[in-house]
Amino acid sequence: MNVTISQQDAVTVVAISGSVDSLSADKLTESFVGELNAGRVKLVADFAAVSYTSSAGLRSVLAAVKESRRSGGDLRIAAVQPDVLRVLSLSGFTSIIKMYDGVAAAVSSYGQA
């Protein structure tokens, strides 16, 4: 799994590629924690290149969602592929996380009421 971080105005885009699983979740968590500790709490996770997520990956995402919201921000997810969406849906994540078709829509959502 690879993580690339970029900034779009006040929003931090965390682009993830590969499998978000037990072997890679710590790396993803570190990436999220690094941004949150730096005060960048408006996050967009770009899932366009995420091929798989497991329970360990879900726990990493959930921890970031909770921490960002606690700090007044949010973690929103963009461009989820169908196989990953099924896992997110089965595990109830689609009911608590805002999801968007693409990164642009997710980033601009922070500017909306």
Binding site: D21, S22, L23, S54, S55, A56, R86, V87, L90, G92
Partner: protein, 294 residues
């Protein structure tokens, strides 16, 4: 038929097979892929129709034998006969007397005879691999983990679909279909120390057309069981300390309740889903063993 003893040093996973009628046969393909990759199953958990496949696989049946077993055990004969008295008791309880223990609109006997003929007097604790069959306590809705006793009786309880089949009295409890407590009982594997858990689950299909009270009831049941599946699976995913790998085959062909002619396709889909996860699973099991050893 019994499974040969498992090499305790070999990599292993717990396998949970959720409710899902004949679609549960995908678990045959999952086990086929695991076996061919030298990965053992250390514990089987099965719910509702998944209990049938968990039992057959825990007894050591191979892929072809398991498909043959499915063709014997999962036929429309099991729901073919009406329970006329059950219907009369439902329509006129004061006249005919309503009895919880015998209330079902289908005659249980063909199903029970089929299960008894296939499993005979084999017991859960005789399976080569630890086996758990789940049912629901009718008195309080709690999940009941059946890990000993008659396999046929445990499956009867696990598949006791409300309204269709009568509840089953077992071990002093009145039991109904396991899906009512949890359609994908990952909790049983977690409770018994499972680390890497493969969860084979299915959402109940929604009705395309609703033209009868029966279809109406099926739709309500699907809504409730799918929401329960999601809420339980989400809790287990975040609560488990290690890994739950979800295997959710997406069938492009419509699979109806008794579509056993589609067994090869269903098994292939399950095998393909599992094979896609094998590289990750190998790495994960190696890391898990290293973590335990350190």
């Amino acid at each position: 038929m019994n499974a040969s003893p498992r090499d305790p040093a070999a990599p292993a996973v717990s396998l949970v097979i959720g409710s899902g009628s004949v679609k549960c046969a995908a678990a045959i393909g999952v086990v086929k892929a695991l076996t061919e990759e030298g990965i053992a199953v250390e514990r089987f958990v099965g719910c509702s129709a998944g209990a049938i496949f968990a039992a057959v696989l825990a007894l050591g049946y191979g892929a072809q034998e398991s498909m043959d077993a499915t063709r014997r055990l999962w036929t429309s004969d099991i729901t073919a006969k009406r329970n006329t008295m059950g219907m009369l008791r439902a329509l006129a309880p004061r006249l005919f007397g309503f009895k919880v223990e015998s209330f079902g609109l289908r005659d249980d006997r063909p199903k029970d005879q089929m299960l008894n003929a296939f499993f005979g007097d084999r017991r859960i604790e005789d399976a080569g691999t630890p086996l758990h069959i789940t049912a629901t306590d009718f008195a309080n809705g709690e999940l009941v983990d059946l890990d000993r006793g008659s396999i046929a009786d445990a499956i009867r309880a696990s598949v006791a679909l409300p309204f269709a089949f009568a509840p089953v009295r077992l071990g002093g409890k009145l039991l109904v279909d396991g899906y009512l407590a949890d359609p994908l009982p990952v909790s049983v594997a977690i409770k018994h120390g499972g680390r890497v858990i493969i969860a084979v689950g299915f959402e109940s299909p929604y009705q395309e057309r609703i033209g009868s009270a029966g279809r109406f009831a099926f739709q309500l049941s699907a809504i409730m069981s799918n929401n329960l599946l999601k809420s339980r699976f989400s809790f287990h995913s975040v609560a488990h300390h290690s890994e739950v790998i979800a295997i959710i085959p997406e069938f492009r062909q419509r699979i109806r309740l008794f579509d056993t002619e589609k067994l090869p396709y269903i098994v292939e889909e399950g095998e393909a889903c599992m094979r896609a996860q094998i590289p990750y699973l190998r790495e994960l099991l190696a890391a898990d063993r290293a973590a335990v050893a350190s």
